[in-house]
Symmetry: C2
Subunit: 206 residues, 2 copies
DNA sequence: ACATAATGTGAGCCACCACTCACGTTCAAG
DNA sequence: CTTGAACGTGAGTGGTGGCTCACATTATGT
């Protein structure tokens, strides 16, 4: 039950290779065959190692999945922060657009991955997903601060919270409802929601 | 794998009692002990019946969960439609407020339930959750039609989609991020988002 | 070269779990 | 009351999967 610590940390190069292979195999099996087929024996076989090796680096089955989820969350956060740096000085319509597109893109990229993980989200993934949301709010809040004189909301914490939630909600809905993600006006509409909330009107075209 | 049909439908009263007890026990075990502890034997024991009885009404384990999810979704949809009838003629700020409060309330009521179910959402719950979202969009769309001359969006399908997604997203975020659900200005802020999207400005106070 | 630690192996143990079946019990109809 | 159908039972079966452990192999320091 409790997330046990890893038995051993990889120190030699070949150990790191094994470790990475296990995580990659976990992702692959999860996406291709579903959670209930993802036994430790199957993961080890796909990774090309023995079960014993798996249990050298992960205390139990749960540990494998939490490690994988952590890795995915770290990537997502890194992408977020990278974008934030490039967008801090950008005007609102541009930044909004970039944020929306980025979220749509990551969803597109590893849709199956997210689905498989969220299958166990309440149990294992929740802390990780919380981290991503918290970091998203932090990034958005910093942007709002820099543009505080141009927007309506004065409670920036609440505004960041609302923004991250609403965009995530619409993007999720789009992928949830098959086919909707490809709707032509979707990204525009999400941006419209954001801009009307922040400005009270649509952005004037340049 | 495939959702097998129930072996037998309860016809006598005591059979219905057994059937209901099984579903209720499933919900209870799911919430109190988590999905992986919810074995058919455990469910039967908590329900106070024998495993054999369980398999008289459900073809397999999956069938128990899908039946439970269907039941929860039906309740949610019924609540939605009931509210829609009462709100069709209401002015926008009132209707928006009612919708938001209703969502917040249902989340509050069976938060653990939703969490446990969404744990298996990708596998079992997806069709049910899709039904709820689709019905939500239909209800919202009907309302928008009735008030089409008072709102900015012209593509009502897209608007309904965006509205349901954004509200759901913000509500989910609130419960996701512990404590946030109790934030004082939360419901107001969600309404503000909705109204600025639909009207382009905040509602004038009565 | 040698010792020692790090890494890798996989057959097998054990516990658990989905599901069955042969048998009892309760109901409803004639 | 009788009869048969609906309902209920729970020990048992087959299979699976998490995890171990005794042993083999490879790297590292001296």
């Amino acid at each position: 039950m409790a997330p046990e610590k890893a038995r051993r940390r990889p120190v030699q190069a070949r150990a790191q290779v094994t470790y990475d292979a296990i995580l990659q195999a976990t992702a692959q099996v999860l996406v291709a065959e579903g959670f209930d087929k993802a036994s430790t024996n199957r993961i080890a076989k796909v990774a090309g190692v023995s079960v014993g090796s798996l249990y050298q680096y992960f205390g139990n089955k749960e540990g494998v999945f939490t490690a994988l989820i952590d890795q995915v969350c770290d990537e997502q956060i890194a992408l977020l922060q990278g974008m934030a740096g490039a967008m801090l000085a950008a005007p609102l319509p541009v930044a909004a657009r970039a944020y929306v597109e980025a979220l749509l893109a990551t969803h597109e990229r590893d849709r199956a991955m997210h689905e498989a993980i969220s299958q166990q989200a309440a149990h294992l993934g929740l802390p990780g997903l919380r981290r991503v949301q918290a970091e998203s709010r932090r990034v958005v809040r910093r942007y709002l601060e820099a543009h505080a004189d141009a927007i309506l909301p004065t409670n920036l914490d609440l505004a960041a919270f609302a923004l991250v939630g609403m965009v995530q909600g619409m993007v999720d809905s789009a992928f949830f409802c098959e086919g909707a993600a490809a709707w032509p006006g979707l990204a525009e509409e999400i941006c419209r929601v954001v801009l009307r909330y922040l400005l009270g009107h649509d952005a004037a075209p340049a």
